[in-house]
């Protein structure tokens, strides 16, 4: 792991990987969107409106995954003082907040025709809303200090404190009586969703994941380049 701690090596590796990541993202999202909008069947109950699922579910899964990335990066930064780990965590957080926002908004747009309400205070929606505020709090804390290293360390601790929310989000539909649909994919006994809907969902989820990886690499490269520019400016 510490082999990749060298920023110059990271820049070389990411420059090599980035075109393939971006290309794969574009391909997967294109295929996924076509499958989701045209090939996948309409739901027998919800009709065509079920297609919001192909955006809502991947965005929801990404919001939790990115928080796990932020928490993992924070743990690595705190324990091993890995120089790129907290940069990765800080650059991933706004992306995670964005995915959470997409999840909440798309869910709200889906809920209106399906449940008859834009919002309901059930366990899943409330815990995802709390996740959104955890992201915002993390971003605010990192930028709240004049000394950026203090901000980085404080943010790392906060990210680890907030990790307790992730199992709550996952299991909230089991622990409480909720309006939100219970787990139909990652559950004991296997997925209960039809294969014709499962495959477009997987492709969209994979596309979203590669989209996140691509953006994260771009953001980390920009951050390292900006640091290099300001170091050069100070040297002059």
């Amino acid at each position: 792991m510490l082999r990749f701690a060298n920023p110059a090596r990271f820049m070389r590796l990411s420059a090599a990987i980035l075109p393939y990541c971006a290309g794969a993202t574009a391909a997967l999202l294109a295929v996924g969107v076509i499958l989701a909008l045209f090939v996948a069947p309409p739901d027998y109950q919800q009709g065509e409106a079920v297609r919001i699922m192909y955006v809502h579910v991947p965005a929801a899964y990404m919001s939790s995954l990115v928080y796990a990335v932020v928490a993992l990066g924070s743990a690595v930064a705190l324990i091993w003082r890995h120089p790129l780990a907290d940069i990765a965590a800080q650059e991933a957080a706004p992306l995670g907040a964005g995915f959470t926002l997409i999840c909440l908004v798309s869910g709200s747009l889906w809920g209106e025709p399906m449940w008859g309400t834009w919002w309901v205070w059930d366990a899943r929606l409330t815990s995802v809303l709390v996740l959104f505020f955890l992201y915002l709090g993390y971003i605010a804390l990192v930028h709240a200090f004049d000394d950026p290293t203090r901000g980085a360390k404080a943010g790392a601790i906060l990210a680890l404190v907030g990790v307790v929310n992730l199992p709550i989000i996952k299991f909230s539909v089991d622990w409480w009586n909720t309006l939100h649909q219970p787990a139909s994919i990652f559950r004991l006994g296997g997925p209960t969703i039809a294969a014709s809907m499962l495959w477009p969902l997987f492709i969209m989820a994979l596309g979203f994941t590669l989209f996140f990886v691509t953006l994260l690499l771009v953001r980390m490269r920009s951050r390292l380049l900006a640091a290099r520019i300001s170091a050069l400016r100070l040297a002059v």
């Binding site: 505020f133 709090g137 709240a144 404190v161």
Partner: protein
């Protein structure tokens, strides 16, 4: 153990000398609660329905008020660095600070809460669970608040940032605290809610000081 008690007594003595701090928190609690009849109307049945929620939420906000100063005075005059060098681990010092905060802020809130619930026409079945729930919940609020206070030491706009960080983490305590009162009022079991509140407290006692001490260490580096 004696060093721990020494630290608790030090904070209690400082708080008592200040005097005004606990009184201001109680005054805020009182004022914020009595705003609600003005805002939503004085109908007793409606106030009774939302009484538990109002009392708990304003108690949460009142507990937030005094959190910013938990470590700030020691941080600013340099005694935090001296405390970090003491043989007593920083985690236990955080526990001492949180205990003192609970005794000076949380406990007064617990004592005043039934009086305010009376003003909001809470049904009589709710008072016991309200006091018990708040007695279990306010130490947890002090512990979680200590994490936020330690993280925002020396930050710009530390007070507002502290609220932003700590309020999402307060939500589980709020849910079960109000749940206990609502259960009692509607004739259901209160034990599950109180057990979960106790579980939150027991989880916060070891975990919150670890996080807060880590934050304090990187604040004095």
């Amino acid at each position: 153990m004696s060093v721990f008690l020494l630290l608790v007594r030090r904070d209690l003595r400082l708080a008592l000398r200040q005097g005004g701090d606990a009184a201001m928190v109680l005054a805020f609690f009182f004022l914020a609660v009595i705003l609600f009849p003005f805002g939503v109307g004085p109908e007793p049945e409606m106030l009774a329905r939302i009484a538990a929620g109002i009392v708990w939420v304003t108690a949460l906000l009142a507990a937030l008020l005094s959190l910013e100063r938990l470590f700030l005075a020691d941080y600013e005059d340099g005694s935090l660095e001296a405390l970090a060098l003491m043989p007593l681990p920083l985690e236990f010092q955080v526990l001492a600070k949180a205990l003192a905060h609970f005794l000076t802020t949380g406990l007064p809130l617990v004592v005043v809460a039934p009086l305010l619930a009376l003003l909001l026409h809470l049904p009589s079945a709710g008072y016991g669970p309200l006091v018990l729930g708040m007695a279990l919940g306010t130490p947890t609020l002090s512990l979680i608040g200590a994490i936020g206070a330690a993280l925002t030491l020396g930050a710009r706009r530390g007070g507002v940032l502290l609220s932003l960080l700590v309020l999402p983490l307060y939500i589980p305590v709020l849910i079960f605290g109000v749940g206990a009162v609502e259960a009692a009022v509607t004739g259901l079991e209160i034990r599950p809610h109180l057990m979960l509140l106790t579980a939150l407290l027991l989880a916060a006692i070891p975990l919150a000081p670890v996080a807060a001490a880590a934050a304090l260490r990187q604040a004095v580096e």
